[in-house]
């Protein structure tokens, strides 16, 4: 047994662990959608900002649309990032805190990075046109900060899985200056996430284009641009996915290769889904009038499968150290009910407000 694995806390959790797992996955899925739109959208924005020539109208539309949305996507990413972090800490707090401390400064840096990136996104949205050439810098800072924060998360969520490394890192330097760069899993995991974000953002761009009612040519160009991005990036990302699989620790990889029905099934589903995605995207790409809905739903499903696969990998790494069934439970039924009611009411309120806003004519 690794001496540095913290002992489980004595306080019970106030609902059965599977409920927190479900909440973790669900809120993480929403977070992922926002994060993908933010990071991937930012990358697409940067690409359009740096493209000279080509279809000017297309690129300018992309720049305008995405720039306006970016701050709101930032807000969504952060608000829906808080919840999965909360539930992750409820279940895996000890592991997550230890790895956070080992990388104290880079981890702390996510806070100023988010602030700077967020303000840069607002600068780009509110003042973008007036910035001229500086616009690329504002957008670049915003996207760069988001990417760095994502990288810090990849470092932390991989470091928390490998307690065997902790002691050496800490005693080499207790000042919290570590990253997890030596980890084989780090790059494929980060790249898989980042590329996935760009692909999803491509799809979202195509979906958004459908609202472009006025100009059929522009609409088609946007859909094509979005799907081209989706296709190209996804092809690469399937390969990165295999790299990820190969980079898993031997015993964990075996879980995905027949060792565990759950993990193997998820992997099979994930691989099949990625082929379906490519096929569906290609169909719309050839005939842009076709519906995007099947592709959108398949993508959502793929994201959900990816989340469950991450979870299965985490369970594999922490097997024997973090056993969720062993956490004492003392259910607070009343609070659970209050939360459920509030959540429904909150969602209804937000939906009401957003619909009012979207229904109103832009004056």
């Amino acid at each position: 047994m690794n001496p540095f694995v913290p002992s489980p806390d004595v306080l019970p959790i106030p609902a059965p662990a599977p409920l927190f797992e479900a909440l973790l996955h669900l809120t993480f899925l929403v977070h992922l959608l926002f994060m993908n739109a933010l990071l991937g959208g930012g990358v697409i924005l940067l690409a359009s900002l740096s493209t000279r020539g080509g279809d000017r109208e297309l690129h300018e539309t992309i720049v305008e649309r995405i720039s306006k949305l970016l701050p709101t996507l930032f807000a969504g990413t952060v608000t829906f990032g808080v919840a999965p972090l909360l539930f992750l800490q409820t279940l895996y707090g000890g592991f997550f805190y230890t790895s956070s401390i080992l990388m104290g400064w880079p981890w702390f840096a996510t806070v100023p990075l988010l602030i700077v990136g967020y303000y840069a996104a607002y600068l780009n949205a509110f003042r973008g046109r007036r910035l001229g050439g500086g616009r690329r810098w504002a957008a670049g800072v915003a996207v760069g900060c988001v990417a760095l924060v994502g990288f810090a998360f990849s470092n932390n969520t991989t470091l928390m899985l490998t307690p065997e490394k902790w002691g050496r890192l800490y005693f080499a330097s207790p000042g919290g200056l570590h990253l997890n760069l030596g980890e084989a899993l780090l790059w494929p995991r980060f790249l898989h996430m980042a590329l996935g974000a760009v692909a999803v953002a491509g799809l979202l761009l195509a979906l958004l284009a459908r609202r472009e009612r006025a100009d059929a040519r522009l609409r088609e160009a946007l859909v094509r641009r979005g799907l081209d991005t989706f296709l190209a990036v996804t092809v690469v990302n399937v390969m990165v996915g295999f790299w990820y699989l190969l980079a898993l620790r031997e015993d964990v990889r075996r879980l995905f290769m027949g060792g565990s029905g759950h993990a193997t099934g998820l992997l099979g589903l994930g691989v099949a889904l990625s082929l379906v995605l490519l096929l569906l995207a290609w169909r719309v790409r050839t005939v842009p009038a076709r519906s995007l809905k099947p592709l959108a739903w398949a993508t959502l499903l793929t994201l959900a499968v990816m989340i469950l696969m991450r979870d299965a990998a985490r369970a594999g790494y922490l097997a024997g150290m973090a056993n969720l069934q062993e956490i004492p439970v003392r259910t607070q039924a009343l609070n659970l009910a209050i939360f459920a009611v509030l959540l429904l009411g909150g969602i209804a309120t937000v939906v009401w407000m957003v619909r009012k806003l979207l229904a109103a004519p832009s004056r």
Partner: protein
Amino acid sequence: MNYPVWEVPMGGGVLMALVSVLHVFVAHLAVGGGLWLVLAERAARRRGDAALLALVKSQSRAFLLLTLVFGAITGVGIWTTAALISPQALVALIRAYVWGWAMEWVFFIVEIAAALVYWYGWERLDERTHRTVGWIYFVAAYVSLVIINGIVTFMLTPGGWLENREFWTGFFNPTYWPSLALRSAAAAAQAGLFVLVTAAFLKRGDARAADAAAWATRRGALWVAAGVAAFAAALLWYRSALTGAIPDWADLAAGAIPVLPRVVTVMWAGAAATFLLALWPLAAPRRWHPAGAVLLTASALVLFFGGEWVREAARKPYTIHGYLYSTGLRVDQEPEIAAAGVTAFTRWRDPAAATPAERGRDLYRAWCLPCHTHDGYNAMRPFLAHRTEAEIADFLPRLQHMRARMPAWHGDAAETADLAAFLAADADRGLAVFPADPGAAGRLAWDAHCGTCHTLDDYRALRPSLAGSSREDLEAMLDALPDLAAEMPAYGGDPVERGHLLDFLTGAAGADPDRSAE
């Protein structure tokens, strides 16, 4: 003990304080400012005052940028930092209050969404819907505060939770209501501050814009003045609740925590300055000036800094009062650690540590570093300058009797020797030189050996017992300290230091008031 301790040169606590003060400053503004915006918008529309409406609109943009970005992200920052500084406390806080956090999160989402819709809706929504969204924002933001207040006050005064571990018992704890009053008043004051700052810095424009600015300035000033006055009143209420909930609060306030009385003074000074400065725009709104806005912001920051600091200090040596120490040790583990020794409870021990000092370093990191630093805030090295290794080993088992609120040290003889070896090797001997001025030298000798546990006139006051003693009496006393009280270590100062200390004590015994600064 369960987690590694992050070595931050200036001190993890300082980092935490920085993030919290900045966040709390903006977070209260985020609550009160929401109320200001809807009320001011309504007034502008009722009066058909386009200039005022334009003012409110530009304020709402500053508000969005400040609260949505800085306020929200520093809020995340508090979590991030707390997890780095006090992981054990955060684990407990999440286990006990995850549903509270989850509820708060719902209001957080509503708040953020409403802020965005309110801003983007200025041109797009009809008046009524727009104002409704404004109200939704304010209610969601205020309920967030109502929930967080329960969890934050729980950490300082968990009350009956210590016995029954019930969510709502800890939530509506002994300081819940006075603290809610404090925070509500602070939210109003912060909203007023926001109005005053924006009004001072916005371009004046034509006469009607100037009228609108004056209208807003006067009301903003009123909010600040009323808010601070209410804050002061709530503070008295809070203090009496605290005295009831923390039995030794009177001791703490009397100087058991050396700097506490000074910080309390700073806090009151901040409150007074904020109040007085607000009278200027109240009386002469048209002469209100950016310089005033800067000063007002500074004094309000001082007030917030003081308030947060006092709350933090009052919680020492706990992170959750009466339940969990700052070191991550639970109170109910004390008998166990006293029996098993600290090594068994020190998870992060370097397998390569071979010498006593190296083993001592691991103990130091686990049991002292959560509150101390090497050379930064609450630095350890200067404290030890005047102590030999033997003296250090002698005072370690007495930490809990010092004026500073520290957890007891439970090391056995070998562990104490290891820690003392590390501390002695680490001490800043450069500071051990006595100044030439005899008065200053005497005070230094006192601070180093007696002032850690006594004051002359307040907490554990010594002057009464010293009064009338001769130098010879005092010499004899110094040699017999452990006989006077078992908590006291024997005095082991060298002849030079002993001389300085005797000078000081003789002066105090003669009731020379010049020496009674403490």
